[in-house]
Amino acid sequence: MDFELSDEQRLLVQTARRFVQEQIVPLETKLDPDADSLDPEDHARLAAQVKAMGLYGLGIPEEYGGPAIDLVTEVLLAMELSQHRAGLYAPCYGVFGGTGLAQLYEATEDQKQRYLHPTLRGEKTAFFALTEPSGGSDPARAIRTTAVRDGDDWVINGGKIFISGADEADYGLVFARTDPTQGRGGITCFIVDTDAPGFYVRRVVHTLRSAHYATELQFENLRVPHKNVLGEVNKGFSIASDRVSRARIPYAAACLGPAIKAQQMCIDYVKVRKTFGDLLATRQAIQWMIVDNEIDVRTARFLVLEAAFKAQSGAPFATEAAMAKLVASEAAGRVVDRAIQIHGGSGVSKDLPLERWYRELRIRRIGEGASEIQRLVIARNVIGGSFH
C-alpha cells in the first residue's frame, strides 16, 4: 500500500488545516470550553465558505450530492477537521455539513424522498435508536421494544436510552422486536416521526460529554405506517451493514485529530517549560512519554489508512475497520492522558482543550461498538466463524 499523498490530497489537507487554524480556533477562544455550536451567523458564514470550497457534505456519496472525495481523502480530512477543542464530536462545529443516516441510502425511493433528501438538504434532522436499558453491545438479545402489526400500521411499545439528538430531530430510526421467537432475525428497523402521538423524550442523560446530552425515549402505542419499515421485516440488522463498517473508519480517523494536536502541544511545551533549571525536553521521563505518543499516533494512523485503502479498493475490510476503530480510540486516549501529565495542572484545567478531549475520548471506546465488540469482530474473522 502506498500511503504517499497525491498532490490533490496534499492540497485538501493543507486547506482543511488552514481552515481550522484560521477560522475555527479563533472563534473557539471566545466560546465556553464546553460549547458544541457556533453563533448562527458564524455558522452560516463558514458553511458558505465550505460550500464555495466544494467540500460541503463530506461523507455523503457523490450520487447524493456530496463532494467527489474518496474514502482515503475523507479520512485524511477527518484527521484535520477534528484538531480543535470541540473537534472530536463537533468537527468544525458542523460547517462541513452532515452525512445523514447511512442506513437511509438503502431506503425505498419513497422513503428517500420523504426523509433522506430533506436531511441532506439540511431541512430535517434524524436520530438513531438501537440501545436500550437492557444493553447496547448485544442488541439482538437486548432489544425489548416491540412492534406488533395492526392493519397497515405497526404499534411500537418500549424505550431506548443514550440516544443523541432525538429531542431535536424530525424523525429517527428505531429498532424493535417483531418476532419474539428469533434473536437477530426478529428485529425490524422503523422510520419514526417524532411528532407522532406516543413518542416521548422522557429525560436528558448527562454524560462525560458534557457539551452534549443523550436522551431516554419512551414509546407508548406509537403507530408507524408499514411503508416506514426500512429494509425488510425481521431483517433490521442486515440493512446497510457494509456502510456501518465503513463509517467506523472516519470515526476512527476523527479520534486521531485531538491526539495529533495534543502531541504537537506537548512538543511545543517541553521546549519552553523548565523544571529544576532545565527544559522538560531534556528529561528522559518526558521524552519517553512523547515517544510513546508518537508511536500511538503513527500506529493508529497506519491502521486507519490501511482500512480506508482496503474499503476503497473493494476488498473485504471489516477486520481492518474494527482494528482501526479499536486502536485509534484507545491510542488517542493514551496520548491525551500523557499530554495532561506533561502539562501538569494546566492539563486538567479548562484553559486547555486537553481535559475535554480526555473526557470525550473515553466515550469513543464505547460508542460505535465498544472495544470488546471490535475485538470480537476481529477474532471472528481471524480465528474463524465457528468459535464465537
Binding site: 458544541d36 455550536s37 416521548y200 436528558v204 458534557s210
Partner: protein, 110 residues
C-alpha cells in the same frame, strides 16, 4: 439529581451570594411573584463561577428577587435541560431567556 432543580431558594442579596463558591454550575432566578425570570449557568469562562454570575444577576435585576443554584460540572447540558423542562411545564421560556436561548429540543418529562 432530579430533573427539576430542588435546591432551596434564597434571597438574591450580596450576603447570600458572598457565601457561594466559585464553582461551575447552574442557577434559577425568580421575581417577587415567584415567576422564574432567568435560568443561567456559570461555565468554564465565568469569572468566579456561580458567585460571579449571581453578582452580575444582582446588578442587572436588583433586589427583590430570589435564586437557587446547583454546583454541576455538566453545566451546559444541565442548563439546556432546565430550559427544556421549564418550557415543557409552562409552555414558554423564562422571560429573560427568550432572546438568547440555545437551540432546544422537546422534552416531555413524566
Amino acid at each position: 439529581m432530579t430533573v427539576r432543580m430542588s435546591k432551596p431558594w434564597a434571597s438574591l442579596s450580596r450576603e447570600n451570594i458572598a457565601g457561594l463558591g466559585a464553582h461551575m454550575g447552574v442557577y434559577e432566578v425568580q421575581d417577587s411573584s415567584e415567576h422564574t425570570v432567568f435560568i443561567g449557568y456559570a461555565g468554564g469562562k465565568s469569572l468566579f463561577g456561580l458567585r460571579g454570575e449571581l453578582e452580575r444577576e444582582l446588578g442587572r435585576l436588583g433586589t427583590g428577587h430570589r435564586f437557587r443554584c446547583e454546583v454541576n460540572t455538566q453545566y451546559m447540558t444541565r442548563y439546556k435541560e432546565l430550559l427544556m423542562v421549564h418550557q415543557a411545564d409552562l409552555g414558554e421560556l423564562p422571560r429573560d431567556n427568550r432572546d438568547s436561548a440555545p437551540r432546544l429540543g422537546r422534552l416531555r418529562p413524566e
